[in-house]
């Protein structure tokens, strides 16, 4: 659906720009791990509810994680980065790093839907 809408919303600037859009959407789908992560969440709910057994969970989990690794690899390729390095993080943190609250301790309005 997104596909068609995107195309229809395009100004008519020639076939080339349509191709570019197609390539971009394809690339996004090729490197988008959100739907896969969501599948993992669904799987956890199914295990909690008892609709699947622990064995099935482990089997499907392995498949999902394999896909996630694959996407991580593709992302690096698309970004022109070398394969994931076998090393940990250094102690250097960039500007803007820190810890913050996601709520306002001075407000008395921190509870309810939509927060």
């Amino acid at each position: 659906m997104l596909f068609l809408d995107d195309l229809l919303a395009l100004p008519i600037t020639g076939f080339k720009s349509i191709l570019r859009t197609l390539a971009k959407v394809a690339e996004e789908q090729y490197t988008d791990d959100a739907p896969i992560k969501e599948r993992l969440l669904h799987l956890q709910v199914e295990l909690d509810e008892g609709t699947i057994t622990e064995d099935e969970y482990i089997k499907q989990e392995a498949e999902i994680l394999r896909e996630l690794r694959e996407i991580r690899k593709r992302k690096r390729e698309v970004a022109g980065l070398p394969p994931e390095e076998a090393t940990g993080f250094t102690g250097k943190v960039k500007e803007g790093s820190g810890v913050e609250l996601t709520w306002d301790p001075d407000s008395d309005d921190n509870v309810g839907p939509g927060r």
């Binding site: 390095e85 090393t87 960039k94 803007g96 790093s97 820190g98 913050e100 921190n110």
Partner: protein, 245 residues
């Protein structure tokens, strides 16, 4: 990350199944709770997640935790000390705010089919429309069914919003803050996290039970915790990986 001046050991419960010791790395009066690992990337498998959870549970018994995201691996203890030093002021501040607070999770599901049946009986608009459909033998036309489907979807989300509001109202006085997370699947209507003052835990428990009882078997409550405040702190660490050699 915790507040602690002296080094602490938490036993050989490290993630990865090798029985690595879990210990603390300090900068002044703050510390990171860590264990050694031969791998750099942890898959979020159930096994790894449970091991991570077990460590957190153990540490939480005697500490306020600011939880790092799962699977963060640094090169050396010195690197960790450097990070702690860089974020010290904000970490210290958030640790203070989070002292004696706990997070609980609440997922609420309903039997969607049963609610749809209820709506067909009780929602006047839907009831009338369905009656019309049957009377005019329109039941099988595509657009009529689409329209009925849309009416039901709309009524369902209105009913869900009402129920969720009522649940929040029942818990408002016994918690500090709440976060709405995205629901998972079409049976879930609420996926929330609550921040509780430690000394209000019993009251919060009772309030959750009271709300659950009020809805009887129409809703299913899944209540988990205590957790460290995953949903109530945001750790922004812009890190760099070291070179492979």
């Amino acid at each position: 990350m915790i507040e602690a001046r002296d080094s602490v050991g938490f036993g050989r419960i490290g993630i990865g199944g090798l029985g690595e010791s879990v210990y603390s790395v300090h900068h002044g009066d703050v510390a990171a709770v860590v264990s050694k690992t031969p791998v750099f990337i942890f898959d979020p498998t159930r096994e790894n997640a449970l091991a991570h959870e077990h460590v957190i549970e153990t540490v939480m018994k005697s500490n306020t935790i600011i939880p790092m995201s799962f699977g963060t691996v640094f090169r050396t203890d010195d690197d960790i000390r450097e990070v702690l030093k860089s974020i010290y002021p904000s970490l210290k501040d958030v640790l203070k705010q989070m002292a004696n607070k706990l997070e609980f999770g609440l997922k609420v599901t309903w039997d969607r089919d049963r609610i749809v049946e209820e709506l067909k009986r009780e929602n006047e608009e839907i009831h009338r429309f369905q009656h019309e459909l049957t009377r005019k033998h329109l039941q099988s036309t595509y657009f009529a069914r689409m329209q009925l489907g849309r009416m039901i979807d709309k009524a369902l989300s209105e009913r869900a919003a009402e129920v969720v509001r009522e649940i929040y109202d029942g818990l408002r006085t016994v918690c500090v803050a709440s976060r709405d997370n995205k629901v998972i699947g079409d049976k879930m209507i609420m996926n929330a996290a609550f921040l509780i003052q430690k000394d209000k835990e019993t009251e919060f428990d009772a309030a959750v039970n009271a709300v659950a009882q009020k809805f009887g078997d129409r809703l299913n409550f899944k209540y988990t915790g205590p957790w460290p405040p995953y949903n109530f702190v945001n750790i922004r660490l812009k890190l760099e990986r070291g070179s492979a050699n």
